[in-house]
């Protein structure tokens, strides 16, 4: 299933937006969105309570690339992503986005969380309009941008709903629209589909690829689902058990656009086998410590 299918299912949307001239979303120039993770180590606490979460991680993400970070639970994936987002300061090393060292959170690095990150007291539209408003847009402009992106994720008819009334999958689509409404050069996604059931998750994956191909944003996507990583990524970066290091960087040669059936493709299964091996090893490793 893809965006088109979603839109077909909601014929009301087109009519809904009538009369408001939605700005056609700009495409991010492919030269923007270069992420450099330069020998980063991250420790929590000090002294005896010291806990190394990430160790000497290095990664270079080209503009417009879709990179999946795969690793066992607790290996430091979220920590590394949060340091790119600007929430966590690396203890050593440096992170640069388009050449500028990351020091604090910013709208050019959009963040999508696993769940429960929408403002429950704002309507779907207000949630999406929040970024543009903060960026200095006036109410009308922000609303227009919000409606554009809600249209793109197929949720325009839910514009006036509060998040609690939406299903988990719909909430995550709002979260993605909210991040995109700031036209970020990098989209940071931390297990965004981890809380969804298998079918909804599959739909969301296709949906995301569709959006990505449309916007060309760089995506850094954290998951521990092997199928998901291979299905989505240009590259799958496998991290070691805690403290996380990058242990393997697997380019995925599968053609795009990717269809759900690809998971039963031989090339897919081959990469999956390799990932299984790596992860299994790391999981055992983690347990034995």
């Amino acid at each position: 299933m893809n965006l088109t299918v979603l839109k077909q299912k909601q014929p009301a949307d087109a009519a809904y937006g009538t009369g408001i001239a939605h700005a056609k979303p700009k495409r991010i120039p492919a030269t923007k969105g270069h992420v450099e993770i330069d020998d980063v180590s991250i420790q929590f606490g000090t002294g005896a309570a010291r806990n190394a979460a990430v160790m000497n991680a290095g990664l270079d993400v080209r503009p417009g690339e879709f990179v999946c970070l795969l690793g066992p639970s607790g290996c430091g994936k979220s920590t590394l992503l949060n340091s790119v987002a600007g929430f966590v300061k690396p203890t050593r090393g440096e992170i640069r986005v388009d050449g500028a060292v990351v020091r604090k959170p910013g709208p050019e690095r959009g963040m999508v969380f696993q769940q429960h990150s929408l403002f429950p007291w704002k309507t779907v539209q207000e949630n999406v309009a929040f970024g543009p408003l903060m960026a200095g847009a006036n109410r009308a402009e922000a609303e227009s941008v919000a409606r554009t992106f809600l249209g793109i994720v197929g949720l325009l008819r839910y514009a006036d709903h509060f998040p609690a009334t939406l299903s988990g999958g719909m909430q995550q689509r709002v979260g993605i629209a909210r991040a995109l409404a700031n036209y970020p050069s990098v989209l940071l996604m931390d297990e965004p589909f981890g809380a969804l059931d298998a079918q909804t998750r599959a739909m969301m994956q296709e949906n995301l690829l569709e959006l990505w191909s449309e916007f060309g944003t760089t995506v850094l996507f954290v998951t521990h689902d092997i199928d998901e990583a291979i299905f989505l990524g240009d590259r799958v970066v496998v991290m070691s058990a805690s403290p996380g290091r990058v242990i393997e960087d697997i380019p995925i040669g599968l053609p795009r656009p990717r269809r759900p059936e690809v998971v039963t493709d031989d090339r897919f299964v081959k990469v999956k086998r390799r990932c299984l091996e790596l992860i299994r090893q790391e999981t055992l490793c983690a347990f034995s410590r």
Binding site: A85, G86, F87, K104, P105, G106, P107, R109, G110, M111, F113, H116, S117, L118, F119, P120, W121, K122, T123, F130, G131, M134, A135, D160, H161, F162, P163, A164, T165, R178, A179, N182
Partner: protein, 249 residues
């Protein structure tokens, strides 16, 4: 409704017969007598004055308590240093009942009206402050991160994230505070020599007018319930996002 009727009938019989088994109903007026007296009171203008004076006192104290309570609560919830300083005072003063404040309030405040308002204020203030702090402190860190990564400034975060997130807790504080302020008002009005529904009840008591005492009790109860309901209902539209069905009209 039926159970209320049953209770009233029981009360009527008990008072008429003058039951006296543990509870002594000998001198308790019957509901009929109380009802008649209530109708009689409704025909006097004094009765309305008592109610209005009390409502006025509640209004002033409550608005004051809500304003200062929410302000202090936010400061304490946001700034560690404010919490360190203020929470000590609050924890020392909070357990002192309103009645115990009467002498000091008389002594320290310029007018009697202000003493009563002070006592009523205290009743409402503490629950509001405590619930505001709790509300502010429980803001989900994930929402703070989300707001920050969407480019929100500190004031924007206060306005768009912390305040609305704390609102359910603040509303709880406001409605508890409303209830407690009526308790305190009553204590305060005992010292008042003139008006107020608490004074009405207390005077009835000094004159041993049992029907009026019961009317006073019920009126206070009703006013308390009603105003608490008003607070809850008033906050309803702001909290519609909590309901599973709500979407903005």
């Amino acid at each position: 409704m039926l159970s209320v009727l049953a209770a009233v009938i029981l009360w009527q019989t008990a008072s008429e017969q003058g039951w006296s088994f543990i509870l002594n109903f000998e001198n308790v007026p019957t509901p009929l007598v109380v009802g008649n007296e209530f109708v009689a009171q409704l025909a006097t203008s004094d009765f309305y004055t008592h109610v209005l004076v009390s409502l006025r006192r509640i209004a002033i104290s409550y608005v004051l308590a809500a304003f200062l309570g929410i302000l202090c609560g936010i400061l304490m919830g946001r700034f560690r240093i404010m919490e360190d300083i203020l929470s000590v005072y609050i924890e020392i003063l909070r357990p002192i009942p309103a009645v115990a404040w009467i002498p000091l309030a008389i002594l320290m405040l310029p007018t009697e009206e202000s003493s009563i308002i002070f006592i009523t204020f205290l009743g409402a203030f503490f629950p509001i402050v405590i619930n505001t702090v709790a509300g502010v402190e429980q803001t989900p860190p994930l929402l703070l991160r989300a707001a920050r990564s969407l480019g929100a400034s500190n004031t924007a975060i206060l306005r768009h994230v912390i305040l609305p997130g704390a609102l359910p807790s603040i509303v709880t504080g406001l409605s508890i505070g409303m209830g407690v302020s009526w308790f305190s008002l009553l204590a305060g009005e005992i010292i008042s020599g003139q008006y107020g529904i608490g004074y009405f009840t207390w005077t009835a008591y000094t004159l041993v007018e049992y029907p009026r005492i019961i009317i006073g009790m019920l009126v206070i109860g009703a006013l308390g319930t009603f105003s608490t309901m008003l607070v809850r209902k008033g906050a309803g539209p702001l909290l519609r996002w909590q309901s599973k069905e709500g979407h903005r009209a």
